[in-house]
Subunit: 559 residues, 2 copies
């Protein structure tokens, strides 16, 4: 039986129309270094219409062509966030921090037609100019830029436009298409895996809209028309967690940090502009804590700061809360999950240490994100807070493929045959739906149908007074499939033999998890961003470059 309800699509243009009319006096303010420049939502809506006219009438953007941004968090970026999807085109946010070859790959792979770019980061794009394919036909520069760079683009046959000149004098309303399929793409964001080429996730109008509704719910950011939002998380990072669209949906004023992400700037922004909610990654907030401890700032306006992107150290959460009265809320997500996966607000009736235990988990799943845990043997595990498996998720704002994958006729192995996203994260889920992550799936050792956490073994080993660093990797084993290899770096002058380290471990983990293979190394190989590079260790082991001792069940060296 069909319902009798209207069939109205969920679209970004509805968010734009609503925010710019009924919340027309809310503001988007961009920090300039010592103050803000503000526009009302009504003005932002009018300028979004002008931008859409410019893109269509002047730059020839039609249909679902991609319009990219290489920009900081600022008002013009907000205008692009609203205009590009609303006109039916696809907003492609480019990550300012990517290495040049990945930036060029992504612009080409997405077939970007236009790039909107802040003048201050134009050198990043200019550096890869020789590698850009001719699908890129226009750049639109926001703010002052080096004229020599502009010339280089012109010479390469890419038209150069100034943002303000381009949109000036155009109509301040636009005939936004009313018949957009809510499942068509609204925005495109690439995730940079540690291996292989970056992969694109194409968010739909439907997924953006539903995700915004979740962002503003009481169980996540819970902001409304009486709030002011400080999105510190970059707008090129998973659509800034959906915050710019969500703020427009409910009339929350926005304070944009632009390029001023340094702790002293953030502290002054908060002190002077009184944001009430914010979202950021832990590293930024760690720097801010030191600044707040040092200086004298009024941060009393902040009532909720959501922390995601990577696990937040408990000490950081407690320091903010106890020393500055700022409640940090843990959240988990990824590019493929829009990103709101879990948010860690404790359940009713808990307090003290129990409350902290909940708050330090990755958080609780909302109704729209359905999880399952897949164990080492491929079967689902119970949500008992004990059974650890790889997390897979399903839901209307969860990716089910990567952009372009279907051209190859095959799906990435990031997706299960029945369409769930394999997150690559390993952890447990409590009976009341709180997720605790322990490992990346690629870092667990699959030993005889059980999983051994390399992170757990490393943490325990590094607790030994003689150990500076320890990295544990999986190596092939004829009997068990995989077994752990422990590589250890001793502190300068310290001495400890493997038998002693093994005995130390034996008091802390189950006996079947104890490594047989041990190797003393001078330093753990690291990636360019300082993470353990376990690929190198595995290759050195495979190539016989490591000197490895083999300890028997009694701990004696039997190599």
């Amino acid at each position: 039986m069909r319902s009798t309800m209207q069939d109205v699509p969920l679209t970004v243009s509805r968010i734009l129309a609503h925010g710019s009319t009924f919340h027309g006096s809310a503001t988007v303010s961009t920090w300039t270094g010592d103050g803000v420049e503000s526009r009302t939502f009504a003005e932002v809506g009018a300028r979004a219409a002008q931008l859409a006219h410019a893109l269509r009438d002047e730059l020839g953007v039609t249909g679902d062509q991609r319009v990219a941004t290489l920009m900081w968090n600022n008002t013009e970026h907000q205008e692009a966030y609203l205009a590009v999807p609303s006109m039916g085109a696809v907003l492609h946010t480019l990550n300012l921090r990517l290495p040049g070859h990945q930036l060029a790959f992504i612009v080409n792979h997405a077939a970007d037609h236009v790039v909107l770019v802040n003048g201050s980061v134009l050198p990043l794009l200019a550096a890869v100019l020789p590698h850009l394919q001719p699908t890129l036909r226009h750049i639109v520069v926001v703010g002052p830029a080096d004229p020599a760079l502009l010339d280089a683009f012109s010479t390469a046959g890419i038209a150069v436009h100034d943002y303000e000149q381009l949109i000036a004098d155009r109509p301040t309303s636009y005939p936004w298409p009313q018949d957009l399929d809510e499942r068509s793409a609204a925005a495109l964001c690439y995730t940079s895996g540690t291996t292989g080429d970056p992969k694109g996730v194409a968010y739909s109008h439907r997924s953006v809209y539903l995700h915004c509704m979740q962002v503003v719910s009481a169980e996540s950011f819970a902001f409304n028309s009486r709030d002011k939002l400080l999105p510190v998380v970059p707008m090129f990072h998973v659509n800034a967690w959906g915050l710019p669209h969500a703020a427009f949906m409910v009339g929350t004023s926005i304070l944009m940090p632009d390029r001023f992400l340094q702790p002293d700037h953030l502290a002054r922004m908060i002190d002077r502009e009184h944001p009430t909610v914010s979202g950021a990654v832990p590293t930024i907030w760690t720097g801010l804590l030191a600044e707040l401890d040092r200086g004298s700032y009024d941060t009393s306006s902040l009532r909720r700061v959501v922390i995601g992107g990577s696990a937040c150290p408990p000490s950081l959460m407690k320091a903010f809360e106890e020393r500055h009265g700022i409640p940090l809320v843990h959240a988990w997500g990824m590019t493929e999950t829009s990103p709101l996966g879990t948010v860690s607000l404790p359940p009713a009736g808990v307090s003290g240490e129990e409350e902290w235990a909940y708050r330090l988990t990755q958080g609780r799943f909302p109704s729209s994100v359905e999880p399952r845990l897949i164990g080492p043997d491929g079967t689902p595990l119970p949500f008992d807070g004990q059974s650890a498996g790889e997390l897979e998720v399903r839901g209307p704002w969860i990716a089910g493929a990567y952009f372009g994958d279907d051209e190859n006729g095959e799906l990435s192995d990031k997706f299960s045959p029945d369409g769930w996203l394999r997150t690559g994260d390993v952890g447990t889920i409590s009976p009341d739906g709180f997720l605790t992550l322990t490992d990346r799936a690629k870092d667990v050792i699959k030993s005889g149908g059980e999983w051994i956490s390399s992170v757990e073994l490393e943490n325990q080993l590094m607790a030994h007074p003689a150990v500076l660093e320890a990295a544990v990797v999986a190596v092939p084993d004829e009997k068990w499939g995989e077994r752990p290899l422990a590589t250890v770096v001793l502190k300068p002058g310290a001495t400890a033999d493997f038998a002693e380290l093994r005995a130390f471990l034996a008091e802390r983990v189950a006996s079947w998890q104890l490594p047989e293979r041990w190797s003393l190394i001078e330093a753990v190989p690291k990636t360019s961003v300082g993470k353990f590079d376990k690929k190198v260790i595995r290759r050195e082991y495979a190539d016989g470059e490591l000197k490895v001792a083999y300890l028997g069940k009694d701990g004696r060296d039997v190599s």
Copy 2:
């Protein structure tokens, strides 16, 4: 360009699965008169599965057959709310307050297969037994009932079941269909217009789910897993405003009043069970106020009470807030709008009288409910807070037809040709999206392309010291299309001629709104529920039964 997101439907079964697992320890409690009987969400979920098995295996409910409820707000009703839509059938809530002929019409029109009925209201159904068509094959009785009535159903060929016996010993999990179209019907609710047969609105899984997300947003009820909800609004009234499903979506415990809607019961429920949020119609809350003023009750747990269904008197809102510290929030909606249309939380930065002015409006539209005002000449009016037009709305949880209308090949005139719902309400919308209703469309007088508010004229007339009652209706006029006819009842012993009343009005309304036609009557005809019955006056005028004076521009009688 297609998005790469998963295509996961929005369904009631997702709400059921989520609530009964991750919020399994939340509770549904039903008031018994002097305490509560409680079940956890996990138990309610298990019993919903048992009910679904019973309906399918024992009563033969298949596909999208209708399962009706004639019940108070209680735990078993919550179980039906979850089980029936989740299994793919359609939950049809029957209004306990309907006259018998309408109840029979609705059961027959919906082709209800089963009715779940509280024993205490079984007489209502038994009274219309001779008028029920054979599509009704089963009744399932919840709680004790009169055996003679049960026999009457059996005799009529309708099988009688006891709810607890029916669901006992069945499996506590159910293979809820995973491939339900989110646009298929989940629930059916009839609206009883003042004229014609009741009309059915068939809510979809999609509309129910989206509406739930709005209910829990910061701008409406804003409840979460740390709250306890008291739904006083009946579950047969627009799905209790979506509250039962929304509570399950976010883990809000529910306190069900069952049949105990008397003020002293409500006061004791609040005092003893500490609900934090509630929803009710003004009349119930008026009774409660008197009880709270009289007795000694702890109502400090209530942090938000949403009032809808009809306009809430300002004195009531102020009394609750000032005398009992309970904030009442105004909302507007109707059966056709699921019902959340507007909620009146004031915007940022207002206080005092300005804040009250906002709070006394019908409220602000959310992004998913798009309004327009249609003026007397059929064109849209600006949202300037001044221009009054008929409100039309569009959105994913707004009805676009009535159940069965398409069979006739024509849509009700409640829907515009482009699919918007004509609400039948007349009012203004402020630039910041706040709705103020002034009239029902059928009560405005369309005079020469302008509207005259009959309610406004009546209120002004009734302010005259000699006037007891006044009813103003539209009557045909050759020159202007329609003009107002003022019918007046004087207070016993009072005297006032029409010229004086007209002069009194002239000081208060625009001159072109002044009625020419006046009639002195003994009493305003009333409907069975005490409202002015203007149909009768219009007919009496048309039939020449009224003695009417005609006053010229100077106020002199020229009849």
